[in-house]
Symmetry: C2
Subunit: 402 residues, 2 copies
């Protein structure tokens, strides 16, 4: 899949860079790279006019980016234009790549994405991970990473970083999975288990799914609530193009918002949490189906066939989602709610009752609900792209690593 | 009331300033002013070491701030220290002042706060505003503003801006009160009714209350949820020291989070919203009391006397608040929840059941709940301080106005 890295306002640019001459130069390098990335190809003059620097200043910055292998010359622009023909620039399809990895309850996946946003290598292994110890799972993941990196290196790409999506809570600014109930992992430091060759990021799959939506979705707004599900239900909150992470990194636990405060007990200690009504296991139970791999496919197949019990279970799940989302929308006032992950595939049967709750419980216009085109692909792509974005946001960082 | 403008990391500094040489200079002016403000008084050398600039650079910036009337010299520091004695600097107690105003359901209030954070003038008018047209209310408010400004000017202060707190939803980046149900105002542009002599800000009272907590509270964290009530229930979400406003500016509508989805109908269109259980009118009704002015005082007086009906009503309100806050805490993962406004005065009777819900519904340690020391003073102080902060965050802005 090739996706352009479009974004009108690259919010991450320079956020972490110091306010010095050197910091300003690094921010300007990022502006140049983002400008070219957003357009696919651009002349130096066009870059200059777009980011409001002089042509001379831009040329110096471009030369640096070419030297580092981040930009390349496409040759002279087509004639017939006014003025001296300039050479068009493009983001390099070689050089740094983002390595994304996903630890799913039923699978492991790894991919490499180049600076242009194209997936250049990919490896997947199906098989249940629930209840397995972290070590053998991470050993398998490391093998897949090795395969993908080897494939990428054959195309003159080198890993600029590894980002891993996990179905659980990750402590902020750490590599520690504090709780992943559906893997049965607790306080697991993935940093100690993964290869230490590249910068490592570990984050919740809902967060990476939301970032994928932000970066790759067509017309995704900069403020939205992204809801996804594998076994549990997670959400990610995006405000002004940035993830809201929470003090400990645990924000977005939509699955444990009370929907019916006197409802069934939940493993979290609460009662009547959303997961008790809309989590995949609850829906399977309500639908009278047996759990197996690919729960979503199973539910969708039965609903597709028109089985009323399954449809009713999904309708009730949609109602519970609508109640929890009414609360979330009242608190956050997002521009839209995006259903991603497994929920995207079940949306035909969830949406009517979900939207009925949202609309019925709102005086003004209800918050619109969109279905993610990325669906279950989101977390893996978001992970790989987060590494790519880090390079685009601070190109000078690669000089320390390459 | 005098409060120091302490803050370890002035988050607002330069947020809106362009990334140019000129922008960098303006940010450095802000850093100098914030450093002195945080300490009360400071020598040039101490400022330089604190913000990481050379002594010479700081001297130039300080001279400018003195010329603009934002800093003043306190005279030579006490002898006995090592090195050449420097003159201590302090933020000026004359010059620009923030004018804060509050439109309450039962009162109007205005105050002037100087750059040191001291309230220097104040005016209040009691009287019900519910159901009155905006024009006469704003005319009265304008009279109070005139009195406060005249009093401030006698002390060599001049208004750097006017900020107005209202009990309703304000459209983002506008002066328009979209909906203030307890005043019965809709789509009211206060910009057209207020004097146009100074920069104007209009915002929800919960937002200004939260900012007051952030700026003036002792040890308030940078990520918290601030819950307040006048007649309705509002909340403000602070993330990394900044308000989360929502797409339309309507974030924080905690009062309309569904607590019991099949509960009583609410004016918002929903059912079983938090306001139906914990809004002041609902509590009065449950307690069997007649509405009048100063509802909080009435409830507190009866609860104080040990009236079981009133205590039970407040206990039930606490339970409903706890259910809604469990959802909010799961979504936002704040460091703490702060009860402000009217809720602060009722906290002895609300807190036990509120905390029982929060704790009982959480697997790990529950989010702590604090009671605001500012209470109902918060919104007015937050409004005035927001003007002061704008000056501290961009001192050069006053040169365009003074």
């Amino acid at each position: 899949m090739t996706a352009p890295l479009h974004e009108a306002r690259p919010a991450g640019v320079g956020r972490a860079l110091p306010d010095t001459q050197q910091g300003m130069r690094r921010r300007n390098l990022a502006r140049v790279l983002h400008a070219v990335s957003a357009e696919g190809s651009l002349s130096r003059a066009a870059v200059a006019s777009r980011i409001g620097l002089t042509r001379a200043a831009v040329s110096t910055l471009v030369d640096e980016l070419i030297r580092w292998g981040l930009l390349e010359e496409l040759g002279p622009e087509r004639p017939g234009r006014v003025g001296r023909p300039g050479s068009a620039l493009a983001v390099s399809g070689r050089g740094p790549a983002g390595i994304g990895a996903e630890i799913g309850v039923d699978h492991l996946a790894v991919c490499a994405v180049d600076l242009r946003g194209a997936v250049r290598a990919r490896a997947v292994r199906r098989g249940a991970n629930r209840g397995r110890a972290p070590e053998p799972v991470i050993a398998e993941l490391t093998t897949l990473v090795g395969q993908v990196v080897a494939e990428a290196e054959r195309e003159e790409l080198w890993p600029a970083g590894l980002a891993v999506a996990v179905p659980g809570l990750v402590a902020r600014d750490s590599h520690t999975v504090v709780r992943a109930p559906n893997l049965e992992w607790r306080d697991t430091d993935l940093g100690a288990l993964l290869p230490g060759d590249w910068p490592l990021t570990v984050d919740n799959e809902a967060n990476f799914g939301a970032l994928a939506e932000l970066w790759l979705g067509a017309g995704t707004p900069r403020e939205f609530l992204h809801v996804s599900a594998e076994i549990g239900i997670g959400a990610a909150i995006v405000v002004d193009g940035q993830l809201l992470r929470g003090t400990r990194g645990f924000a977005g636990e939509l699955g444990h918002v009370p929907v019916r405060p006197d409802g069934p007990s939940c493993a979290c200690g609460g009662r009547g949490c959303l997961e008790q009504y809309a989590g995949q296991e609850a829906v399977l139970r309500a639908a009278g189906l047996q759990p197996r791999e690919d729960l979503v496919g199973l539910l969708a197949a039965h609903a597709e066939k028109g089985e009323e019990g399954v449809r009713a279970a999904l309708r009730d799940a949609g109602t519970a989602l609508g109640i929890a989302l009414t609360g979330a929308v009242n608190l956050l006032d997002p521009e839209t709610v995006v259903l991603g992950g497994a929920l995207a595939g079940l949306s035909p049967w969830l949406l009517p009752s979900l939207e009925a709750e949202l609309t019925g419980r709102t005086a003004g216009p209800a918050c619109p609900v969109a279905v993610s085109p990325l669906g279950p692909e989101g977390p893996l792509l978001g992970a790989a792209h987060s590494v790519v974005r880090a390079v685009l946001d601070d190109p000078a960082s690669v000089t320390k690593r390459s």
